[in-house]
């Protein structure tokens, strides 16, 4: 029974819930992860691929699923809901109700006999398939068990007998239990809008009109059509597919909600791209949209790719209706564009309705149970400066149930929620032991018995190469005793198979033909270990990222290369040796770089949870960019928040604030870093030792030379306008006309990305200006209004209150000419199709943010961090690890990652804190096993290694040979490469396996 | 008098001595030697005959010196330690002496790298200073290095080179002192363009009274052109040509530069003769022997004393 105060209840097992659960468990917390569904995974598991990498989601997420299931800190309870929550933060009593599964999971082998025998007792698989027997939502379902819908079952006895394992228990009933938990994390997400109610689109009437999610299922290899893109009506591949955006969102109709769901634009683009990329390039893809909202990190580039590279057609309009053309069986969309007010009609084979998020009635019910407030849209209410805290202390929310958002932001909030949740728990007991593992089998001296497992990763690999044939080929390679296709090798099911195979076949080496070791090696290493093998006896052949993804359209090439890669891996692994990881004590102090909102929040959370924090700021004072902001869109007072925050940080016993600090050097490794600063006007040098680092170095206000900014007094930026409205209301009162131009210096070649915050700022300032001076005419010249989520409401209000929104194209930008103390702005109005000119008292440019090139470049160089194309820090995984950086122990928060508003910055700051907590919860650093080893017999004490080592580790010891301390070795292998006596080997990269790989690749077929 | 050397006699007489230079031809061409010698005859007290100068094979210093003797000139038989071991060296010395050659100059020689026989072995069985010792030993003790007695030992007036300009400068006086210690009778210096620096060196020399133990002949070389000036300044190790001198050469038209070079040379001699301790001049008119008479005359060093 876990320590009550060390347990968190996580409700909802989508990516958000899983992320929160994993952060907490990594930090040594116990988690009860419940989901009302029969298996965990949530919405993401039903998607085909995710933007912007077009990865298969299952590949990305499946490791997490199985990690969850394996993690001893996490107790997974499917088919479970909360029926009551008593007590308060730190000491809740949760009543959990479990629906019957009618299957004893201890016994179930997932053989599927019950399904064969009784196809009628079905639960519908989300998507289109009406055949699925039981509610296994996707092949990698965790836990790996069926569940039965007893209502639909006529002959229970027969069903029971159908199970060879005798796992079916018809008397299984609902059970309730109480759990003591310290905090609750709500990650229940939302459902997608059901457009059946909209007559004009004929959803549910015309089979070829589908929702975005259904389209995902059709494309998904695990879906009903087995990955074939065909029209539901006639099973034939479509030639023309259309997407209609904002179906049920941003609307005023009965069925509509007013907010923006935030993700539909990106998923429509993704579906369009994947359609052309994976199926036929000649399929015409057309997207009907109002504003293209690609405001996330690098999303604008993705948008460009859709247009330029893939030729996706984009029509700006809101289609009026869809009618089926009986004759052709096609669908006719009628719409009116800016160009012509008359209705245009066009025929398509399939129409995809981009439906957005809706809070379920269930969720509202749950909210009542938990006693938390909902906002006007029934989402959990949070505050501008407290992004994941609900109205009830100790109950936190993340993901879509907080507000519509995509996966990376859900991940950030999930970590943030985990961070805050753990504050309600007792300080974690040191060194939460690792799961007890079977003893390691000594394979030294054994002939290689290699097992090869080839993933299909659905279409990712299976789509390009014949996985079975590949496995068969591998089976003939020397040393291979077992070779089979593994489906999703990273799925829990497959991992269990691999473990079993290792034991049964007495394998002593394993090759995984799958994706990149960078992302999955760890998972398979642990799997080997759990099967009693040393974890370094596995090798991955990267046949996905480096083969099938690259040669997807050339199956033969892909196959030949796949064989080569497998052959190399087999040859290499045969030489692999069992190794032991080296460890060192963990330094629990944290260095936070950047004293803005993000940095201060991260520091505060970490300090509150017992870590000493060094908060280093380059400027002379704390505050950063937010000091220039006066009000949020919601109207909260930023200065008073900042004052309070700065006060808290400066007063905190565990936080040392170091201003005017410039990073000059950096050494060490995750868990024991040393970073050198030059501090203060006298630039004295100080070195700080820390285990982890949070980069919250922010961005800069972009100040492009455009529209006579900085030359004419009437031309200003939104930031300046913000202050003018606060400090000189009388000035604003005199204004007759106020004009704003959006996307100045953003979404342009020099700075292709969207600055995300400008549309909100513009609306915010417009509304506040109107408050002061209702008669003023306000024009906002924009390209796309990107008021995602609830900020859409303010956009609507602005329109209501007479703000005039005029769209401009990049090829015809507004022209600004001075006009005395005013400026004249000329622009074309696409609606009335005429050029207009407005003389404004104030022209506010939405200049957004720019990457702090200098700072990020210097830091990236000193810390050896990767950067995105735009120069910001490149996260470890754009979807699942948005806060982790490529180097372990480095985390990013706030606008140093990408443009964000204050609320989003705080969320990521808390997320970074959570990631740090997870990392620093361990007492030792695992250095891995890649270290240089000297063979004393061979060493000629020539000193080459001593001189070559970038870290000065090797030395000649009393026994007269070079000695390399594994604890100090960074494992670069330079010494091994230079040793003239070949006396040094870098473990895991010895000459033998490298030569073997070469042999494997180049064996002369003569 | 230690020897019969005319040069020694002139120096001993207190007159400013003058030596010239004759580079033997790269071939069996006695007439070339004779022509060059003829130009110098009467204008110098003795003529240096170089020994495979700049490490290029030439008629041997020994043979060429013999031709000079036959013309009743007084060769300064130059010998480098680069090409001979001590057997050959001592053999040549008594050989030369038996031809009436009684003045020699002991050198280490330019490195083969600079000549056309870079592949040649670089003997250096002795160094220049040890050569001085050797010759002194042969003359004063009448013994070969091996210790055996020499019948009619060679009475050689022993010279050496001194370079006041090479680095390390502070060592240059000591270097001379060491040669004196080894038994040198006279030194000819590297050609002097930077007279200030030379004076500094001479001060050092006088402080130690070296000028009273060895005759110091100042080396001068007339420059034919600004190009030559620049070349010597930048390319020739151990030669110090001040910028103003290069400027001065470059300052006059091409056809006048040769004359300018001569003038500079003469002016130098005038300045140098004022310096206490300078006992004479070594005029190295490389491949320009015909100008020596003019220089000697205009420098007021003509006629040469009869001793």
């Amino acid at each position: 029974m876990p320590n009550q105060n060390n347990t968190v209840l996580v409700i909802g097992s989508g990516v958000g819930g899983m992320k929160a659960a994993m952060d907490l468990s990594e930090a040594g917390r116990d988690v009860v992860l419940i989901d009302q569904a029969a298996s965990i995974g949530g919405l993401m598991t039903r998607l085909d691929r995710t933007f912007p990498t077009n990865n298969c989601d299952l590949c990305t997420i499946a490791p997490n699923l199985s990690e969850n299931a394996r993690d001893k800190h996490i107790e997974v309870l499917p088919l479970t809901q909360v029926s009551a929550l008593q007590g308060q933060a730190g000491d809740f009593t949760a009543t959990l109700t479990r629906a019957p599964r009618y299957i004893d999971m201890e016994k179930c082998t997932a053989c599927g006999e019950c399904h064969k025998a009784f196809p009628e007792c079905v639960r519908f698989e989300p998507g289109l398939d009406h055949r699925a027997p039981t509610c296994m939502r996707y092949p990698q379902a965790t836990p790996q068990a069926f569940s039965i819908d007893m209502e639909k079952c006529e002959d229970t006895a027969a069903l029971v007998n159908a199970c060879p394992a005798g796992a079916i228990n018809p008397d299984d009933g609902e059970r309730t239990e109480e759990r003591q938990v310290g905090a609750v994390v709500l990650a229940i997400g939302a459902e997608l809008f059901d457009p059946s109610g909209l007559e004009n689109f004929g959803y549910g009437v015309y089979p070829d009109v589908v929702t975005g999610l259904e389209y995902e299922r059709i494309m998904s290899a695990s879906g009903p059509t087995g990955g074939e893109l065909v029209r539901p009506s006639n099973g034939k591949p479509p030639q023309r597919v259309a997407w209609i955006q904002c179906v049920g969102s941003r609307g005023i109709n009965r069925e509509d909600v007013s907010y923006c769901s935030g993700v539909c634009c990106m998923y429509a683009l993704k579906e369009a791209i994947v359609t052309k990329e994976r199926f036929q390039d000649d399929i015409e893809a057309t997207i009907f949209y109002m504003d293209m909202r690609t405001y996330g990190k690098d999303y604008e580039l993705y948008y460009d790719r859709a247009k330029k590279t893939y030729g996706v057609r984009l029509e700006r309009c809101r289609p009026h209706s869809i009618i089926s053309d009986a004759a052709s069986g096609q669908l006719t969309i009628s719409y009116a564009t800016d160009a012509s007010s008359a209705l245009t009609t066009e025929k398509f084979d399939m129409v995809v309705l981009s439906t957005g998020f809706r809070v379920t009635e269930n969720a509202c019910q749950l909210a009542r149970v938990l006693g938390i407030e909902l906002n006007e849209h029934n989402f959990a209410r949070t505050q501008s400066f407290s992004p994941v805290a609900t109205s009830r202390p100790g109950v936190y929310v993340c993901g879509v149930f907080e507000s519509p958002k995509d996966i990376p932001e859900t991940m950030m909030q999930a970590s943030a929620a985990a961070c805050l949740a753990s504050k309600n728990l007792v300080p974690v007991a040191a060194g939460n032991g690792e799961a007890e593992l079977p003893p390691e089998r000594d394979v030294s001296g054994e002939e290689p018995r290699i097992g090869v497992f080839v993933c299909d990763c659905e279409q990712n690999i299976g789509g390009a190469v014949d996985v079975d044939a590949l496995a068969a080929y591998a089976g003939k390679l020397p040393g291979v005793v077992l070779s089979q296709s593994a489906g999703h090798g990273c799925s829990r099911e497959a991992l269990e198979k691999i473990k079993a195979a290792i034991v049964e076949q007495n394998l002593n080496r394993v090759v995984i033909g799958g994706c990149s070791p960078r992302t999955h090696e760890n998972l398979f290493q642990n799997t080997l270990r759990e099967a009693g093998l040393n974890k370094y006896l596995v090798e991955m052949a990267n046949i996905r990222d480096q083969d099938t993804w690259v040669h997807m359209n050339y199956p033969e090439m892909a196959m030949t290369k796949a064989k080569d890669l497998i052959r190399m891996a087999v040859a290499g692994v045969a030489q692999a040796q069992a190794l032991k990881d080296n460890t060192l004590p963990m330094n629990k102090d944290v260095l936070v770089l950047g004293g803005g909102v993000s940095g201060m929040n991260a520091a505060l959370e970490l300090a509150d949870q017992g870590h000493r924090v060094y908060l280093a700021e380059q400027a002379g004072h704390l505050g950063g960019m937010a000091l220039a902001v006066r009000k949020t869109l919601e109207g909260d007072d930023v200065p008073s928040y900042m004052a309070d925050l700065i006060e808290k940080v400066s007063q905190h016993a565990l936080i040392e604030v170091i201003t005017q600090a410039i990073v000059v050097d950096h050494f060490g490794m995750p868990g024991m870093y040393k970073t050198g600063f030059q501090i203060g006007p006298r630039m004295y040098y100080r070195q700080i030792e820390h285990g982890a680092t949070v980069l919250a170095t922010g961005a800069t206000h972009n100040v492009p030379r455009a529209y006579s900014l900085g030359e004419h007094a009437a031309v200003t930026t939104q930031i300046e306008l913000d202050s003018v409205i606060e400090d000189q209301p009388e000035r604003v009162k005199d204004w007759g006309q106020l004009v704003m131009i959006q996307c100045v210096g953003s979404r342009v070649p020099e700075n292709p990305n969207c600055s995300r915050i400008c549309c909100q700022s513009a609306i915010k300032n417009a509304l506040r200006a109107l408050d002061l001076n209702p008669d003023m005419r306000v024009f906002i010249l924009y390209r796309d209004m990107r008021t995602y989520g609830f900020s859409e409401d303010y956009y609507a209000e602005a329109r209501r209150r007479g703000v005039i929104f005029v769209r401009y194209e990049t090829d015809t930008p507004p022209e600004v000419t001075p006009d005395g103390d005013k400026v004249k702005i000329a622009f074309a109005d696409p609606i009335i199709g005429r050029k207009l000119a407005v003389t404004a008292d104030c022209l506010a440019l939405s200049t957004g943010m720019a990457v702090n090139e200098e700072a990020t470049e210097d830091l990236a160089t000193i810390f050896h961090l990767n950067r995105s194309l735009d120069g910001s820090f490149l996260e470890e995984h754009i979807k699942l690890r948005p806060t982790d950086l490529s180097i372990p122990g480095f985390f990013v928060a706030g606008s140093a990652h990408a443009p964000k508003n204050i609320k989003e910055c705080i969320a990521q700051a808390q997320a970074a804190a959570s990631r740090v907590l997870s990392m620093l919860s361990k007492d030792t650093i695992n250095l891995g096993a890649t270290v240089a080893r000297v063979d004393p017999e061979k060493c000629a004490t020539c000193l080459v290694c001593v001189r070559a080592c970038p870290y000065g580790v090797p030395f000649i010891n009393e026994d007269r040979y070079s000695e390399i301390d594994p604890a100090k070795c960074h494992g670069c292998g330079t010494c091994a490469a230079e040793c003239p006596a070949k006396a040094i080997e870098l473990t895991r990269f010895e000459d033998a396996p490298i030569m073997a790989r070469l042999e494997g690749l180049l064996e002369r077929s003569a | 008098m230690k020897t019969e050397s005319v040069l020694e006699k002139v120096l001993a007489s207190g007159e400013l001595a003058v030596t010239g230079e004759c580079g033997p031809p790269r071939g069996a061409l006695p007439e070339v030697v004779q022509e060059k010698a003829a130009m110098l005859k009467g204008y110098v007290d003795a003529v240096n005959v170089t020994d495979n100068q700049t490490a290029m094979v030439r008629m041997s210093s020994f043979a060429a010196s013999v031709f000079l003797r036959q013309m009743d000139l007084h060769p300064v038989f130059q010998m480098v330690t680069r090409d001979r071991n001590r057997l050959a060296i001592q053999g040549d010395i008594i050989g030369a002496y038996s031809h009436g050659i009684n003045t020699m100059l002991c050198l280490s020689g330019d490195h083969p790298k600079f000549g056309d026989h870079a592949m040649a072995a670089n003997v250096h069985d002795l160094d220049s200073l040890q050569l001085i010792q050797t010759v002194r030993g042969m003359r004063d003790e009448g013994l070969f290095q091996g210790g055996a007695e020499i019948k009619n030992p060679p009475k050689m007036f022993i010279g050496a080179a001194a370079n006041p300009f090479a680095d390390p400068f502070e060592l240059r006086v000591a270097r001379l002192a060491k040669k004196v210690k080894a038994g040198v009778d006279f030194v000819q210096t590297q050609c002097i363009y930077n007279i200030d620096k030379f004076e500094t060196w001479m001060e050092g020399v006088r402080e130690r009274g070296l000028h009273e133990q060895v005759y110091i002949m100042a080396g001068v070389t007339p420059m034919k052109s600004a190009g030559m000036a620049r070349y010597m300044k930048n390319r020739v190790p151990g030669i110090d040509v001040p910028d103003e001198m290069v400027k001065r050469m470059a300052g006059v038209p091409k056809d006048k530069q040769a004359q300018e070079g001569i003038d500079i040379c003469i002016e130098s001699i005038e300045r140098l003769r004022q310096i206490e301790g300078v006992s004479g001049f070594h005029i190295m008119a490389i491949e320009w022997e015909e100008k020596v008479p003019e220089i000697v005359k205009r420098a007021g060093l003509y006629p040469r004393p009869q001793v």
Binding site: C942, A983 | T81, H124, Q133, K181, A182, Q190
Partner: protein, 221 residues
């Protein structure tokens, strides 16, 4: 340490021309340290010879071995089991090693893969410079610990020639003037005056002068 450099490939190929099987022998002493003949270089040369032969369409079987020292018969003996299976031995040792191997195996030709250069010291990664010519009568005590015989281009024993400029030798700016170094060192030691002690002509008998040299330690012999 004795330093060496690999001979040009053409020369090596020329020597082993017509050999089908060769034994390539490295040495784990000096030549390993100067990156000329250790295991690594042996492997590199083996690969190089292989490639060169295959390029010519010839088969060449190269066996690699690296002895602890090729200048000691006991180590050389380790080659014995293999010697009959090869047409030639290519030694990557210094001249001493090559000769020791040749002495032991009379019937098999032994070819040098290296040019033995000099006794030198390491001036940093990848740089070795001559320090000693084994004259057999060390005068470093007189010259501030810097050998004019090995390090002066003219072996001058009594001071720098006229070609010394800015501490560099007249033969090239990459060569230090030994006597400049000696003088600087003497100043540091405060023994400038000792400079003027004339070092007399050297007795080369202790060096090559007396022909091949030998050391005999009765107590050990």
């Amino acid at each position: 340490m004795i330093t060496a450099e690999r001979k040009p490939m053409d020369e090596i190929m020329g020597m082993i021309d017509g050999c089908g099987r060769i034994l390539l022998v490295g040495c784990n002493e000096c030549v390993t340290v100067c990156a000329a003949g250790g295991r690594k270089e042996v492997a590199l040369l083996a690969a190089g010879l292989q490639m060169a032969s295959m390029k010519k369409g010839r088969a060449l079987d190269v066996r690699e071995m690296t002895l602890e020292r090729q200048c000691d018969p006991e180590y050389v003996e380790e080659l014995a089991p293999h010697i009959d299976q090869v047409d030639a031995v290519v030694s990557m040792a210094c001249g001493c090693g090559v000769q020791e191997v040749a002495r032991r195996f009379k019937k098999t030709p032994v070819y040098p893969a290296l040019n033995t250069k000099f006794m030198g010291a390491s001036e940093g990664p990848g740089i070795w410079a001559e320090r000693c010519q084994g004259c057999g009568d060390c005068l470093l005590g007189l010259t501030g610990g810097i050998c004019p015989i090995a390090r002066c281009a003219k072996r001058l024993m009594n001071g720098p020639c006229g070609g010394s400029t800015n501490g560099k030798c007249e033969i090239g700016n990459d060569v230090d003037c030994a006597w400049h170094l000696i003088w600087e060192r003497m100043k540091e030691l405060g023994i400038e005056d000792r400079y003027e002690d004339v070092i007399a002509a050297k007795d080369w008998r202790t060096g090559r002068g007396n022909g091949p040299r030998k050391i005999l330690r009765e107590d050990l012999a």
